[in-house]
């Protein structure tokens, strides 16, 4: 078992969710779909064309009871090629994160809902979310949102200057 000792932030790799131009400023975000500050940050990041945005999961269940389920829903959507669509859908309406809301979102995105529902409960999807979380813990992430811009960590409410 690899433990959770301090380690540098994992480099952006093939399994990451990345959007924005390849030559954009690299922003790696650790976020939680039930975190209101993450939703606000998400809107700000989406409004900037010059960023290469990587999103990683950092759900903390006791603060946000549906954060883990929402993260798994986004990963299940990713298996059908629709991660960012689900990411945006979840952040646009954080008050609806119960199972029927997740199914409705999946339907609206045109996903195979049955497959989505079995994927989001799968061990593979849970492992994918856990991997993001553990990488964040080892890099010293303690709260959401946390962003790394050019390797520097910024936590909480992110100043305009950072972006």
């Amino acid at each position: 078992m690899t433990d959770l000792r301090s380690a540098p932030i994992p480099p952006v790799g093939d399994s990451d969710h990345v959007r924005g131009p390849a030559d954009g400023i690299e922003v790696i975000e650790y976020g939680d779909f039930e975190c209101p500050f993450c939703a606000a940050l998400s809107a700000r990041l989406a409004a900037r064309a010059a960023l290469r945005h990587t999103f990683r999961h950092f759900p903390v269940r006791s603060s946000h009871p549906r954060a883990w389920a929402a993260a798994c829903a986004a990963e299940a959507a990713a298996l059908q090629g629709r991660f960012w669509e689900m990411h945006d859908s979840l952040f646009e309406d954080q008050a609806r994160l119960e199972d029927p809301h997740l199914w409705r979102r999946a339907r609206e995105l045109g996903l195979d809902v049955e497959r989505f529902d079995s994927d989001r409960r799968s061990e593979a999807v849970a492992a994918r979310v856990r991997e993001d979380f553990r990488g964040g813990v080892r890099a010293g992430v303690v709260t959401t949102p946390t962003v790394f811009v050019d390797g520097r960590m910024h936590a909480g409410r992110i100043d305009e200057g950072v972006l």
Partner: protein, 158 residues
């Protein structure tokens, strides 16, 4: 006599001092409880304060891995045991709480983590099964939350 301000966090190699903290049910938790197992003490300033809330919620996520390493983690503050229990229950975490309420801050002083304004510094102390401090860390300010990674850095020193 005014309370003494702590002289500094106990360093690795220091034997744990004699102390008595109170569990949530009011029973005593003493130095003898440290013997034979690894203990992580998480000193935090106040129950219900915003950063402490994030801190215990985060540590709860990796509680299983701390236990897998044979260690037991406790939250320590100067709040009364009833307040600590209400705090823990409201957060929905299971990390056991220890109270340094009376005489206020006595144990925090003994570990060198008592803030001059009357609350524990935000600090982590890892104690080996021989009741000797193996690793310790104090956040640069009470508003800074020590990452859960630091707990594992500390456990690696046992």
């Amino acid at each position: 006599m005014p309370p003494e301000v702590s002289e500094g966090l106990l360093a690795p190699g220091s034997p744990a001092p004699e102390f008595t903290l109170r569990r949530e049910d009011g029973s005593a938790f003493t130095r003898a409880e440290l013997e034979g197992k690894t203990t992580v003490l998480v000193f935090y300033p106040f129950a219900f304060s915003p950063v402490c809330t994030d801190q215990l919620s985060l540590y709860q996520e990796i509680l299983g891995e701390i236990e897998d390493r044979g260690a037991t983690i406790y939250g320590v503050s100067c709040d009364a045991n009833y307040s600590q229990r209400a705090f823990r229950e409201q957060l929905g975490v299971t990390i056991q709480q220890l109270s340094d309420f009376e005489p206020k801050g006595e144990v925090c002083r003994a570990f060198g983590v008592y803030h001059p304004k009357g609350f524990p510094q935000r600090a982590l102390v890892v104690i080996g099964p021989d009741a000797v401090v193996r690793w310790s860390y104090q956040a640069p300010s009470p508003s800074e939350l020590p990452g859960a990674n630091l707990i594992f850095d500390g456990l690696a020193a046992v």
